[in-house]
C-alpha cells in the first residue's frame, strides 16, 4: 500500500543520528539516550544550538493556531519543566515552548513521583497556555455590567477603597482569602502582606480541606502532615482508604498503590459510596456518612480483644492510651452496627487485615476531615496506627492525601489566620522572630494592627467570613464587621451556605477577585449587586516560577513556561503593587531583590523569597531547601529511587527527592530531607526522627518523653528528651560545639528561633539527636474539646435517637472571633429528617478540581462532564418518581434548591445521595451565564452543591461539615 517517497526529506542537521542503547533499560536508563540528551542540552544551557535541539523535536512543529510564524527547525524552542497545577501528587510536566507559545506537552518519565503518568487534568494542562475563558484584563462592575479598566486605575481605586475602609473601621474590617494554588513564595508573601496591612483575617483552602487533619495530627505527635509518601505505600502490606476516593482525587497515587497491590498488598475501602477506588479494593464496606469514630473504635475493639496491639511500641512511644482504651472497649459490635450500619464481621475483617499484614497504612481525605468532629476523626485514625505500631515505619504511617497542588505549602508558610509562616503561632515571640527575618521593626508591624491583642488573636476563617459580614456587630470578637473581601485564588462555591454567602456579598462595601478566571465569585456578585466589585487578572503557575510542596512534603521547583497571558500578572507582582499603594513596599521586600518584568512592573524575585523562607522557617525545616538544591533535584529526577525517594549517586546523592520537610539546618548542612516522619530506624541526618516534645515534659505525673531506649538511630541520647534550647545545650556540654558566630546568634534562643541554625546543626550532625526533642505521641489530647475522641452525630442527622445519645457540645461564644452554634442548632433540627430524609454528601470528580471554574473552562475536560448531576439510588429515584437522566430538584434545610440531572445508580445506598462540588454557574435552577464577563464564563456550568449545604463546624478548626447533611429529592 505504501509507496516510497522519491526523496526522503533530508535536512542539514539530520546528519546527527542519536546513539541509543536499547539495552540500557536498567535503573535510571528508562528512556533512550534521546531524552537524556535533550535534558542534557537544555540543562547545560545550550539552548541556542537550535540545530542540535531541533533533532530532538520534530521539524515544522506548529501546534496551536496562535503559534508565531516561525521558520522551521530554528531557535526559539525550549523545554520547561514544571509541575501540574491541580492536585497534591505533584506530577511533573515538560512543557515544550516555541517562540513563547506552549505548543506541546511531554510526560516526564524521569519523575520519581509520577513516572510520566497523568490524569485527565494533568494531561490537559497545556490548555492553560491558550485559555480562551481567562480573565484577560482588570474589570469593574459598573451598573450591573462588567467594564474593562486599566491596571493602574484598578490598583488605585481598589487601594483607595481599602485604605478608606481601614481608616474608618480598622484593618480587621477587611478579609483576605488567599490560595493553596499560590506557590510557596507567593503564599508566604501573602502572609506577610496581609500582616503588614494590619490584620490576621486571612485564610486559604486548607481550612475547608485538611485543617482538622493538621490540628488533630499535629497535636498527637508533632507535625500535622502526611507521614510517609505516595511512593512509600509500595512498601505497605495492607492499606485502608477511609473517606478517600483516590482514584478520582489523586489518580496517579493509584499507580503506586496498584503496583503494591500486584505485589501482595491488600486494599480496603470504607466509604458511603462504592467509588472508583472501591472498585479496585479487595474489601469494600459501606458506612453511614459521619460515623467514622465508631467504626475506628469498632476496629480497635477487635484489635485489643485479640491482642493485636503492638505493646512494646505503645509502652515506649505512646501516652494516655488507657483512657482512650476505656472508651474504645465500650464500642461493642452491636453498638457499632447500630450507629454505622456496618455488621461486626466486616469491621473485624478490616481490623484483621490491618493487624495481620504489617506494615499497614491508612489514607484519609475529606470523608474524615469535613465534619464537626473532624479533629476527633483524624485523631482516632492516628490512635489506630499508634496501637498497631505503624507510625514511623516505612509502609505504615498515616498517609493523608492533601488537595490542591500547593495546599501543603500554603499551610506550611502561607496565609493562615492563626499562625505565621512555619506554624509559629501569633504570640509576641513569634512576631519578633519573623520581624527579625523580615528585617522590619516589630513595633512598626504592631502599629499596623488595631492593637496588640488583635495582632495576637487568630483571624476569622474562610468558612465563616460570611458571618463576619452578616452577624450582629456586638457578637463578633472584633471592632467592626467585615466590609471588604478579596478572593485571591480561591473559589466561593466550595464553602457551605451559599444562599447566605450571596447575601453577604450584597452587603459588602467592596469585593475584589484576583484570579486567572473570573470565578463564580464574579457571577454570584453580579447577580446580587450593581457595583463595588473588581476583577484583577492573576496568572497561573505556568506563567511564573516558584516552588510547590506536594502532599508528601517534597518541594518541587516549577519553571516559568510562558509569559503571563493577556494582561495577567503573577500574584507576587500584584502584591508588591498594592504594597506600594499602601505605603509598605519597602518593608515587604526588605531582604528580597526586585526585578523589572516585561511590562516594567516591579517583581519580587521568587528565588529570593524562598531564601527568606529558608532563613526563618526553622520549626518545620523549610530551611535546607534552597532554590539551588531544589533546581538540582528537578534536573536529576532520574537519579532518585522510586520506592525510597533517595538519590543513588549523581549530583544529589543521598538526598531525598524534593528535600521533603523537615529538612533541617542551613542549606550548607545538606540535610537530605525526611521521607518518612518519626522513623527511629534511621539517623536524623538521614531523614530519621521521633515524636515531638511539644506538649511539656510530664502530665499528671506521667512522663511525656519517650521511654528509655527509644530514640532515633545513633542518637547520643538513647532516651526521651525535651526540645533543645541554649540552656539544654549548655547543660549537656554541647554549647562549645557551636562556632563563635553561631553562639552569638543562638544565645538566649531555642532551636526554632536561632537564626544561625547552629543549634540544629550541633544537635543533629554532631550528636545525632532531634532538635524538637524525643517524646511520646499523645493518644489523649487534653487541650482539645474532646480529649478522648468521641462520636457525635452530625449537625443534620437522619437518626434523632442517636442525636439524643451522641449530641454536639455546647455552643461557643467567641470561636475564631465568631459565635458558633453546636448543640442548640442540632437540637433545633433534631427531627428535620422527617422532611429531609436523605443524607446528602458531596465529593470530587476526576475531570475537575476545586471550585471548578478553571477546569470547566478547559474544553478538553469540560467535554467529559457536561452537566451537574446527582447520584441517587434506584429505590429513592423510584420513590421520588424520576428516572435516569431526567432533571430533578435537590432541596435542603437551607431552602436551597438545585436543579440537576439524575444519575440513578447503585453507587450510593438507598438513603444517601451524592453531588459533585465542582460546579458553579447555575443558581436555583437558572443559568448564570449573563452574570459572567463576556467570553469568560466556563464552558460547562451547573448548580453549586454548596447552595444547599448547611451550618456545621468543627470544634477546633472551624472546618465546614460538607460531607453529611440532609436533603430531599423531587422530580423536576
Amino acid at each position: 500500500m505504501l509507496t516510497r517517497k522519491a526523496k526522503s526529506a533530508a535536512r542539514p542537521e539530520a546528519g546527527v543520528i542519536l546513539a541509543s542503547n536499547p539495552a540500557s533499560t536498567a535503573s535510571g536508563g528508562v528512556l533512550a539516550a534521546t531524552m537524556d540528551r535533550r535534558t542534557f542540552l537544555k540543562r547545560s544551557g545550550l539552548v541556542a544550538g537550535g540545530g542540535a535541539l531541533a533533532t530532538q523535536l520534530p521539524y515544522n512543529m506548529i501546534g496551536s493556531a496562535e503559534a508565531a510564524d516561525a521558520p522551521a527547525g530554528k531557535t526559539g524552542v525550549e523545554v520547561k519543566r514544571t509541575v501540574c497545577t491541580h492536585c497534591s501528587v505533584g506530577c511533573a510536566v515538560d512543557a515544550v515552548v516555541e517562540n513563547g507559545v506552549w505548543t506541546r506537552q511531554e510526560p516526564v518519565f524521569d519523575s520519581p513521583l509520577n513516572l510520566g503518568s497523568h490524569c485527565a487534568k494533568g494531561a490537559a494542562v497545556r490548555e492553560h497556555g491558550h485559555g480562551e475563558h481567562r480573565l484577560k484584563y482588570p474589570m469593574k462592575l459598573v451598573d450591573g455590567k462588567w467594564k474593562r479598566m486599566k491596571w493602574e486605575e484598578a490598583i488605585a481605586e481598589v487601594g483607595d477603597k481599602l485604605l478608606a475602609i481601614r481608616k474608618e473601621s480598622g484593618p480587621d474590617a477587611t478579609y483576605w482569602v488567599g490560595s493553596s494554588k499560590q506557590s510557596n513564595e507567593q503564599a508566604y508573601l501573602m502572609r506577610k502582606f496581609v500582616s503588614f496591612f494590619g490584620t490576621n483575617n486571612m485564610d486559604h483552602q486548607a481550612r475547608i480541606c485538611h485543617s482538622t487533619t493538621v490540628a488533630g495530627v499535629a497535636n498527637t505527635w508533632g507535625y500535622g502532615a502526611m507521614t510517609n509518601s505516595y511512593n512509600d505505600m509500595q512498601f505497605s502490606k495492607a492499606a485502608l482508604y477511609i473517606g478517600s476516593n483516590a482514584a478520582e482525587a489523586h489518580p496517579v497515587s493509584l499507580l503506586h498503590m496498584l503496583h503494591a497491590k500486584e505485589n501482595g498488598c491488600k486494599m480496603a475501602v470504607v466509604d458511603p459510596r462504592f467509588t472508583r477506588t472501591a472498585a479496585k479494593a479487595d474489601i469494600y464496606t459501606r458506612i453511614r456518612s459521619g460515623t467514622d469514630i465508631p467504626f475506628i473504635w469498632g476496629m480497635l475493639y477487635h484489635i485489643f480483644k485479640n491482642g493485636w496491639e503492638d505493646k512494646e511500641y505503645i509502652d515506649a512511644r505512646v501516652f494516655g492510651l488507657d483512657k482512650v482504651k476505656a472508651e474504645i472497649m465500650t464500642w461493642t459490635p452491636d453498638r457499632v452496627q447500630d450507629v454505622t450500619g456496618i455488621p461486626e464481621e466486616e469491621v473485624f475483617r478490616i481490623a484483621e487485615m490491618l493487624a495481620k499484614n504489617k506494615p499497614s497504612t491508612v489514607v484519609w481525605c475529606m470523608g474524615q476531615t469535613q465534619h464537626t468532629v473532624g479533629n476527633a476523626n483524624v485523631r482516632a485514625m492516628c490512635i489506630l496506627q499508634l496501637v498497631l505500631g505503624n507510625v514511623g515505619v516505612s509502609g505504615g504511617g498515616t498517609n493523608i492525601f492533601r488537595g490542591h497542588d500547593n495546599v501543603q505549602g500554603a499551610t506550611d508558610v502561607g496565609p493562615n489566620p492563626d499562625s505565621l509562616p512555619g506554624y509559629y503561632g501569633l504570640a509576641a515571640g513569634s512576631w519578633k522572630h519573623w520581624c527579625k527575618v523580615w528585617g522590619v521593626d516589630y513595633e512598626w508591624v504592631k502599629s499596623q494592627f488595631a492593637s496588640q491583642a488583635m495582632m495576637e488573636k487568630s483571624g476569622i476563617t474562610v468558612s465563616r467570613w460570611i458571618d463576619g459580614v452578616l452577624e450582629k456587630n456586638e457578637n463578633i470578637d472584633q471592632d467592626s464587621n467585615i466590609r471588604a473581601v478579596t478572593y485571591w485564588g480561591h473559589a466561593p462555591n466550595s464553602q457551605t451556605r451559599g444562599l447566605e454567602m450571596v447575601e453577604a456579598m450584597k452587603k459588602l462595601d467592596l469585593l475584589v477577585v484576583i484570579d486567572p478566571y473570573p470565578s463564580a465569585t464574579a457571577a454570584m456578585a453580579a447577580m446580587m449587586r450593581k457595583d463595588g466589585v473588581y476583577l484583577l487578572p492573576a496568572c497561573t503557575q505556568f506563567e511564573t516560577c516558584g516552588s510547590r510542596t506536594a502532599s508528601n512534603r517534597s518541594i518541587q521547583w516549577g519553571e516559568k513556561v510562558i509569559e503571563p497571558l493577556f494582561e495577567s500578572k503573577p500574584d507576587h507582582t500584584i502584591m508588591y503593587a498594592f504594597a506600594k499603594k499602601f505605603g509598605f513596599e519597602k518593608e515587604l521586600v526588605k531582604n528580597i531583590k526586585l526585578n523589572k518584568d516585561k511590562q516594567g512592573w516591579d517583581e519580587p524575585e521568587v528565588e529570593d523569597i524562598l531564601r527568606e523562607i529558608n532563613r526563618g522557617a526553622w520549626t518545620i525545616g523549610y530551611t535546607g531547601q534552597s532554590p539551588e538544591r531544589l533546581k538540582l533535584h528537578m534536573k536529576n529526577m532520574h537519579t532518585f529511587d522510586v520506592k525510597t525517594l533517595k538519590a543513588k549517586g549523581g549530583p544529589c546523592d543521598g538526598d531525598y527527592f524534593g528535600l521533603p520537610w523537615p529538612c533541617y539546618g542551613t542549606p550548607e548542612l545538606k540535610h537530605p530531607g525526611t521521607p518518612n516522619l518519626y522513623d527511629t530506624s534511621k539517623h536524623v541526618m538521614d531523614g530519621g526522627g521521633n515524636f515531638r516534645a511539644n506538649f511539656g515534659v510530664e502530665r499528671d505525673g506521667i512522663s511525656l518523653l519517650a521511654a528509655d531506649g527509644s530514640a532515633s538511630k545513633g542518637a547520643a541520647l538513647q532516651m526521651g528528651y525535651p526540645e533543645f534550647d541554649h540552656v539544654l545545650l549548655k547543660k549537656l556540654g554541647w554549647w562549645d560545639d557551636l562556632t563563635e558566630d553561631e553562639k552569638k546568634a543562638a544565645e538566649g534562643k531555642n532551636w526554632k528561633t536561632d537564626l544561625s541554625g547552629g543549634i540544629q546543626r550541633v544537635v543533629m550532625q554532631v550528636h545525632g539527636c532531634h532538635p524538637f526533642g524525643n517524646a511520646r505521641a499523645r493518644a489523649l489530647v487534653w487541650n482539645f474539646p474532646d480529649p478522648v475522641p468521641l462520636h457525635r452525630e452530625p449537625m443534620y442527622s437522619p437518626r434523632p435517637d442517636l442525636v439524643d445519645k451522641y449530641p454536639q457540645p455546647d455552643d461557643k461564644k467567641a470561636f475564631w472571633r465568631l459565635p458558633t452554634l453546636y448543640k442548640s442548632l442540632q437540637t433545633k433540627v433534631r427531627d428535620i429528617s422527617k422532611e429531609y430524609p436523605l443524607i446528602m454528601t458531596s465529593g470530587r470528580l476526576v475531570e475537575y478540581e476545586g471550585g471548578g471554574d478553571e477546569t470547566r473552562s478547559n474544553p478538553w475536560l469540560a467535554e467529559l462532564q457536561q452537566e451537574m448531576f446527582c447520584e441517587v439510588n434506584p429505590r429513592d429515584a423510584n420513590n421520588a418518581g424520576f428516572r435516569n437522566n431526567e432533571f430533578m430538584w435537590v432541596e435542603t434545610p437551607t431552602k436551597g434548591r438545585m436543579k440537576v440531572r439524575a444519575q440513578v445508580t447503585e453507587r450510593v445506598a438507598p438513603g444517601t445521595v451524592f453531588l459533585p462540588f465542582h460546579f458553579a454557574g447555575w443558581w436555583q435552577g437558572k443559568d448564570m451565564l449573563e452574570y459572567y464577563p463576556e467570553g469568560a464564563a466556563p464552558v460547562v456550568r451547573g448548580e453549586s452543591v454548596n447552595q444547599g449545604t448547611t451550618y456545621g463546624y468543627d470544634s477546633v478548626t472551624m472546618m465546614q461539615e460538607t460531607k453529611t447533611t440532609l436533603c430531599r429529592v423531587t422530580k423536576a
Partner: protein, 212 residues
Amino acid sequence: MARMKFLCDTERCIECNGCVTACKNENEVPWGVNRRRVVTINDGVPGERSVSVACMHCSDAPCMAVCPTDCFYKTEEGLVLHNKDACIGCGYCFFACPFGAPQFPNGPAAFGMRGKMDKCTFCAGGPEENGSKAEFEKYGRNRLAEGKLPLCAEMCSTKALLAGDAAVISDIFRERVMHRGKAGEAWGWTTAYGKPEQARERAREQNREGQK
C-alpha cells in the same frame, strides 16, 4: 518488524480519562470528536471494570474492507490509517467498526455532511510528510516519526494503557501478571473459570441491603 498494538489492563484502569485528554491535547481534536473513550462496565457495583478504547488497528480491518473510496491503508507496523482527502464522510466505516473508532466532526448528520472521518492514528499522523503542518492539521501529531509512542499510553495515570510493539507490551503485561500471581488476568478469565472476588463482594452487599 514492529507490529503496533494497544493493550488496556483493566485491572489497573481507574477511568481517569487521562488517555482521552492526552489525545485531545496532542492532536488538537475538536469538541465532539473523541478518538479515545473509556468504557465502564458494571458502573457503581462491585465488579466494576473500565477499559480505554480507541482504534484497535485491526489486522483485518472492517473499516478498510467497506470503504467505498478505499481511503484506508495499512502501514508496515500494522497501523490502519486513512486519507482524509479521499474520505467522503459516508459513515460506512463507522457501521463496520466494532469499537466505534471512526468519529465525525459534524456529528450525526446526513450522508456526506458529517465531515471527514477522524480516528485514532496511533499518533502516526497520515499520508502527508512526517511532522508537517498539513499532517498536523489533518491527522494530528506524528509521534511515531519522532521515536515516541502514543501520548495516551505514555500519560496513563496507572500505566494501564500500553501502546507499542506487540512483543514489548506483551512482556510488560506478562511481568505484571506474574506478579499478580493469578493465571491470566485478561478480563473474563475469572468469569469463565470461577467466581471473582468482586462478585462475592457484590453478593455480600446485596445481602446487607436485604438486612436493612
